[in-house]
């Protein structure tokens, strides 16, 4: 396999992630059940005549992708690969609502055009006038990881630079349905997500994009070694699949310095993490990040953004630490995520 380096990153989230003067250690723990992304000055990035039709997800995706490309010094990547769990949900809701309210008549084109899952990848490509390979993966909580796997394959073939990203947006009606299903915490259940004894997460939205290249450059954050996904696993199978994943990469768990976990305050999924933290990952430096990002289908891209920054700076801020174990530095990082026992993913990074 060709090497794959993360050479540019961009992030729009519920934190001040586009402001370079704000450090991870300045991020504040989310305190709302629904946490919109921080507003950006979108006019700095998007032409005014384009911006008026764009949903939040598209705008966030364009900002994050532009920042990543700018940092890597890339104008036209060989591929644009996007992951999204729900696509441009706000426009989907708008269009469906119009169908119901107007008795299937008077349907306007804009929300229909903008509601498709691949709108973000398409708008990023249009903005760049990039006609290369452009694919959007929709695979629930593994959407971003699937995009990353495709990027690794593309780099192993003819591509030299690939832009990958994840994006998901909050939409009013869908969030309401998620609240009814106890997928989202109610306001009175919000507390320290590490000690949460209730179901549900803190809902949020965001977009993170990365420029991946075969070559290491002065802007390189880390090497993206490998990514693996699995749909449903029990705890024994998690250990087996993880060992097998590491073995494939000529490593064992002993080689991993830090584990970034997708703990999100939802008891239904967090029990798995807590159990692993007391067994398989007991002697590892454990890190969590969803108290800063909230939860959305492609939030693991935020996890990768955080991990890339930590590796580059060789520091894990206190706000991310799940246990007290500290290492002098860390070379190898594993990101592990799952959603209520489904959609497991392993992402392996190495410092450069």
């Amino acid at each position: 396999m060709s090497k794959c380096y993360i050479n540019g990153i961009g992030c729009v989230s519920a934190q001040e992630t586009t402001n370079e003067s704000v450090e991870i250690s300045d991020f504040e723990t989310l305190t709302q059940s629904i946490n919109p992304a921080k507003k950006q000055n979108y006019k700095e990035y998007i032409a005014p005549n384009m911006i008026r039709r764009m949903a939040a997800g598209v705008k966030m995706g364009i900002v994050a992708s532009k920042k990543a490309l700018e940092e890597a010094g890339i104008n036209n990547p060989d591929a644009i690969i996007t992951g999204t769990g729900m696509g441009c949900l706000v426009d989907s809701e708008k269009f469906l609502k119009a169908i119901i309210e107007n008795d299937e008549q008077y349907l306007t084109p804009t929300p229909f055009i903008q509601s498709t899952h691949n709108t973000v990848g398409a708008q990023v490509a249009l903005g760049l006038k990039c006609k290369s390979y452009n694919v959007t993966y929709v695979h629930a909580n593994n959407s971003f990881e699937t995009a990353a796997i495709d990027a690794l394959l593309a780099l192993n073939e003819t591509a030299d630079s690939v832009l990958i990203g994840g994006v998901d947006e909050i939409a009013k009606h869908s969030t309401y349905l998620h609240q009814l299903e106890n997928l989202v915490k109610s306001e009175d259940e919000i507390s320290n997500i590490l000690k949460s004894d209730t179901q549900g997460y803190l809902a949020s939205e965001g977009s993170q994009f990365f420029v991946l290249q075969k070559k290491k450059t002065s802007s390189t954050y880390a090497e993206l070694v490998d990514v693996a996904i699995h749909d449903v696993l029990n705890q024994d199978q998690i250990a087996d699949k993880l060992n097998s994943f590491l073995n494939t990469n000529n490593m064992s768990l002993a080689d991993v310095d830090s584990i970034f976990l997708g703990v999100n305050g939802d008891k239904k999924g967090d029990d798995i993490y807590h159990s692993l933290c007391e067994s398989l990952f007991k002697n590892k430096q454990q890190v969590y990040y969803k108290h800063l990002s909230g939860e959305y289908n492609t939030v693991t891209a935020f996890g990768l953004w955080i991990a890339a920054k930590c590796i580059k700076n060789q520091t894990i801020p206190e706000v991310l630490r799940l246990n007290d174990l500290k290492t002098d530095g860390f070379k190898t990082v594993l990101l592990y995520n799952q959603n209520r026992g489904e959609h497991h993913s392993f992402t392996l990074l190495k410092s450069c």
Partner: protein
């Protein structure tokens, strides 16, 4: 007629998400497409739906659209002459 023109401006701004544009920024004779408000072909479809939904007017021949949607004045005139009783 003046009331209709003001109403049209409000609806155009709202339906087409014309951010940063106020009713007072649109003159009655300003071209809606091209150099004026800068509307495009997708906006034209939105305006056709708006005429049907809000004023009960169906534009049977799309070629008519160019003249109808030239400005707020032409739209208001067309609506007042063709609105079902």
């Amino acid at each position: 007629m003046e009331k209709l023109k003001a109403e049209l401006k409000e609806r155009i701004i709202e339906n087409l998400n014309l951010e940063d544009i106020e009713v007072s920024d649109i003159n009655d004779n300003d071209p809606l497409f091209g150099e004026g408000l800068g509307l495009d072909s997708i906006d034209a479809l939105e305006l056709i739906v708006m005429l049907d939904k809000d004023y009960g007017i169906k534009i049977a021949d799309p070629k008519e659209g160019k003249a109808i949607f030239e400005s707020i004045n032409t739209m208001a005139t067309y609506i007042s002459e063709n609105k079902p009783a």
